[in-house]
Each structure stands twice: as C-alpha cells, then as structure tokens.
C-alpha cells in the first residue's frame, strides 16, 4: 500500500518533469526544426510563393546557384569578412582580456566598461552610426582632410574595397568587447598564481600571451570561434543598413541576398530555401571543424 503510493508519487514527479520542459521543446520543434524540414522540401520547388510546384529537374534550384554570380559574390564577401574579421577580433579580445586581468593595473573597471560599451549599442544603430561617419560628407573625411592626409573626400561606401573595409571595422568595433568578456570570465578561472609565476620566471607579456593565456583559454576560444563564425555567416543588419549591399552587390552578404530573393521584389521561395540550406550546411560544417580543431584529446 505504502509502496504503491510512493510509486504513484514518483510517476507524478516524472510527469511533472516532462510537463516543465514540454512548452519550450515544442516551440523549438515547431519554430526551428519543422521550418527547416519545410525549407528543405521547398528547396526542390519552383514558382511564385502562391503556387509552388516541383522543380524539373528536381535539383534545379541547386544547380542554378552555380550560375548565380551574385550569390557567388555574396558567398565570397561573407567568407572575406569571416577570414579577416574573426581572427583579428578574437586575438584583440584575448589580448585586451589579458591586459585587464592584471591586478596591478589601475582603472580596470573603467577600461572594461568603455571597451565593453559598443556591444550595448543597438545593432541597426551602430550600422547607421558607421554609415554616417564614413559618408562622403562624414566625419572621417573631414578629419582626414583636416590632417592633410587626403585632398578630396573619399567615397568610402561607394567603392567596393573601402566599403568592405568599413564593414569589417564596424564589426570589430561592435563585437571585440563582447568577446573580451568571455575571455575575462575564462581567465578568472585560471589561477592567478600561474601568471605571477611566469612573470617571476621573466616571461614578457607577449610570451605569457602565447604560452599561457592562449592554451588555457582554448575551450573559450573554440566557443567564441563558433559563435563568431555562426554570426558572421548570418550577417544581415550591417549589409542592409551600412552599405545596402552596394556598390553593385560588392558588399552584400549571403543572408542579405537570400532575404532579397524572398522578400524584396520577387517572392522566389524555392530558390531562397535552397540558398538558405547552403548557409545551414556551411554553419554546421564549420562548427564541426572548429570543435575538432579545438578538441585537445588526441
């Protein structure tokens, strides 16, 4: 009798556990996994949004990509941002975290707050701030003119190389402090005495950085790396609001181009879904590579 009652209680507890996690789990299935499956199916269809039909040949949308020069450009741009911006940002973030982790340093809190501040800026806001700073009649031009470095206004956002550089600078500005916080948290888990010992041993800052900080922060580097890669592959706000993808698509990102295919002018849902699936595969593959590279177990 007693035993039965206890079993009843356990069953009740078990049911309660499932009850607690059901709403969140259902939402993820309905709002992420189910749309993903739908996108995969739609990626084999063509036609306007209202009347989609199976493509012929069935892989039409996927083969079409190879002739799509704008998508190739978008992919190239996205990878360029990734390859240049992510490593600079992460190294800078670790370096800043190491400097700020020094207990002899004064004004640590103030420095940290100031460097961290950009990531409190709303995303569209910062894109527009940089757009205005680098406008043809913007502050950057007038400062450079004032210093006599340039003779006439540079059209930063109107030329493909400089426009790309502005996007990279803006990204560095917005996200370096954000990543620094992860490294600071990671460094706080490292015994401070390790650092003091290395200073006593006569290691300079640079040696300490490469031989102690970087190896010990490896798990955090892997995580921030995955996050940054994921974020960069999905860049959208900056491309839309800072450069509008221009001049002539030379700064457009994959997400921006995909969005345009679905919601700007045309409603090419089939092709959009195929392109989006490519982004999904890239995100997944790069995450796995990153995990493998970061895995210290041999």
């Amino acid at each position: 009798m007693q035993k039965q009652k206890r079993l009843g209680l356990l069953a009740k507890q078990k049911a309660a556990g499932w009850g607690f996690l059901t709403p969140a789990s259902l939402l993820i299935f309905v709002m992420s996994f189910y749309p993903m499956v739908q996108a995969f199916i739609t990626s084999f269809k063509t036609g306007s949004a209202a009347r989609l039909q199976w493509a012929s040949p069935i892989t039409y949308n996927y083969t079409r990509m190879f002739q799509d020069t704008v998508f190739k450009t978008a992919m190239g741009n996205t990878f360029l941002y990734l390859i240049i911006q992510v490593p600079i940002m992460l190294i800078l973030a670790i370096l800043l975290a190491q400097l700020l982790n020094n207990r002899d340093l004064k004004f640590r809190g103030l420095f940290r707050t100031m460097i961290f501040l950009p990531c409190a800026t709303a995303l569209v806001s910062y894109a527009l701030i940089f757009k205005t700073l680098f406008a043809r009649e913007g502050l950057i031009n007038s400062m450079l003119m004032g210093l006599g470095i340039i003779k006439e206004n540079v059209d930063w956002l109107g030329q493909s190389t400089t426009a790309k550089a502005v996007i990279i600078i803006a990204l560095l500005w917005r996200w370096t402090g954000y990543n620094m916080v992860f490294f600071l948290a990671g460094l706080q888990n490292i015994e401070y005495s390790v650092y003091e010992a290395s200073t006593i041993d006569g290691a300079n800052g640079w040696q300490t950085f490469w031989s102690i900080t970087v190896p010990l922060l490896r798990p955090v580097i892997v995580m921030t790396g995955i996050m940054s890669i994921n974020g960069t592959l999905q860049l959208f706000d900056e491309s839309v609001n800072l450069t509008a993808g221009g001049p002539s698509n030379s700064t457009i990102t994959m997400s921006h181009y995909i969005y345009n295919n679905a919601f700007v002018g045309k409603a090419n849902f089939g092709y959009t879904s195929a392109l989006a699936f490519v982004v999904f595969i890239l995100v997944a593959v790069l995450a796995v590579i990153n995990l493998k590279v970061g895995d210290t177990r041999d």
Binding site: L9, Q13, G17, W18, F20, L21, P23, A24, S25, L27, I28, M31, S32, Y34, P35, M36, A39, A49, L100, D104, L105, F111, I115, F116, L117, P118, A120, T121, A122, L123, V124, S125, Y126, L128, I129, K131, T132, E137, G138, L139, S142, W173, V181, F182, L184, A185, G205, V220, N230, Q234, F236, D237, S255, I258, Y259, F263, S273, A276, V279, V283
Partner: protein, 279 residues
C-alpha cells in the same frame, strides 16, 4: 623601510604597465568615440554634422521636431518596449521551466531530447524565414505581438543557461518541500524562482537586448506602420536621398538609449548573461 621598498616596487610595476595603459586608452577612445559623436551629432544641424563638428550644438530641439514630424517616434518606442518586455517575460518563464525540468528531473530520455534541442543553435535565421513567414501569415498573425515573439520565445541558449545554473539548486530542499506537501509546480515558483533571481536577471538582460535589436524578423512580419519598431523606423529614415544627419543621429540615439541604460544599470548581469552558459 619595507614600506618604501614596496612603494618603489609598486612604481616599478606601474612603469612596466605604461604600454598597457597606452594601448587600453587608445582602444577605449575608439570604443567610446562613435557613441559620444552620435550624442553630439543629435544636437547639431545636418550641415554641422557633415562639416565634422564633434562638440554639442544647439539644434537638439529642431532635430526632435523634425523627427516626430517625419515619423511616429513614440509609437515605435512604445512598440519596441512592449514587444521586448512581453518576449522577455514569456521567454524567461518558458525557458527557465525547461532548464529546471532538464536538470532536476533528468533521465536518459530528457538528456537525449536536450541534445537534440541544442542542434537548433545551428539553424540559421534566414533558413527558417520563409516557412515561418508562411506559417504566421496562414495563422493570420501578421502585425501582431505574437508574430514578433513566437520564433524567439524558446532558445537552446537560454534553456542551457538555466539548466547550468540549476545545478546549484539543492535537491534536498526539494525533498523537504515535497514532504511539506508542496506541489512540483509550487516548488518551482516558491523555491526555485526566488533562489535563482540573479540568473533570471542576467537572462532578462540578454532576451531584452535580443528582442530590442531584432531586425530581420520584424522587417518580415511587422509591415504595418502602427506596429513599427525602433530599428525599422531608423533604418527607413536613413534610406532617403537627402538624409538629415542631425535628425538621423537623434533617432539612432533614441534606438540605443534603452539598451545602453540597461547596460549601465545591469552591467554585471549583462556580463554574466552573455557568459552565462559557459560555466
């Protein structure tokens, strides 16, 4: 004697730190300057901004008048606040319940499900955009709060954050509470919730920021002018041919004010929030 020795050692240490101070100062200036300039530009005329003025001006009133004449600023502010707050409250409830369930009632089945849910982190937003848009429009929910919040209500990141932090919650207390006759849901609200306040605060900052910043999704499902959010309002403003820079920067300032305020008031929670699931 020893005091002067340690003082001399201290000044020697400080001297060695001079390059650090210089570097950190430069980075700090680069970090703060664009924001400082945004604030001053909001008080200048478009011409003054274009001429490179970097100090405060006297055109704030005019910029504000232009801004509210061009678009419904306060409606957009109200919308953004409403959506962000509703999303924060709903998301915290749903995800903390899940994190609690996954950690404190865990068994093989639940652990497996958790692993599956984590995969959702890899799903790019742009990939689900078309199906979700179709779903929302079929449900006749376009231009509603529900449309805004639904896709981001439950995130693996937040569930994971609550799950990790639930490890500190003592199981013994749960048993004691059960003996005292508290129901399972009662334990959650009466014991777990008060104990996890700092996790909730950190999570709230993260969700609020994400909701306030969200742009691609509202641009897709919140097309009506009455449901416009702040990021959409300022993005539209910058698209004209002759952009009034003073007015634009004032709009940008309004759009960033809530996030910057949250940052300054809750900086500790903010830092804990973004690193929340790293423990």
């Amino acid at each position: 004697m020893t005091k002067s020795v340690s003082a001399a050692k201290g000044s020697q240490i400080q001297r060695r730190l001079i390059p650090s101070y210089i570097f950190l100062t430069i980075v700090s200036i680069f970090s703060v300057f664009p924001l400082f300039w945004m604030v001053t530009a909001a008080t200048n005329t478009s011409l003054e901004v274009a001429q490179g003025k970097i100090w405060f001006g006297t055109n704030f009133g005019q910029n504000y008048a232009n801004l509210i004449a061009q678009d419904n600023l306060w409606q957009a502010m109200g919308n953004s606040f409403l959506y962000a707050i509703v999303q924060t409250l709903a998301s915290l409830l749903i995800c903390s319940l899940a994190g609690y369930g996954f950690e404190l009632y865990h068994d093989k089945g639940k652990d497996f499900l958790f692993g599956v849910l984590l995969l959702a982190m890899m799903v790019p937003q742009v990939a689900t955009l078309v199906p979700l848009f179709t779903m929302i429009s079929r449900m006749k929910l376009l231009n509603t709060v529900i449309a805004f919040i639904l896709p981001a209500l439950s995130t693996p990141f937040l569930i994971m954050m609550f799950r990790q932090n639930s490890r500190n919650f003592p199981i013994d207390t749960m048993e004691a509470a059960r003996i005292d006759g508290l129901s399972e849901i009662g334990i959650f609200f009466r014991m777990y919730f008060p104990m996890m306040k700092s996790t909730y605060a950190a999570a709230a900052v993260i969700v609020f920021m994400n909701a306030w910043n969200s742009y691609m999704w509202p641009r897709t499902v919140m097309k009506g002018s009455a449901v416009k959010t702040m990021p959409i309002l300022i993005a539209n403003m910058s698209n004209g041919y002759a952009v009034d820079y003073g007015m634009l920067m004032l709009g940008v300032l309004f759009c960033s004010l809530p996030t910057i305020l949250v940052f300054f008031i809750l900086q500790k929670q903010f830092a804990e929030g973004i690193t929340g699931s790293v423990k």
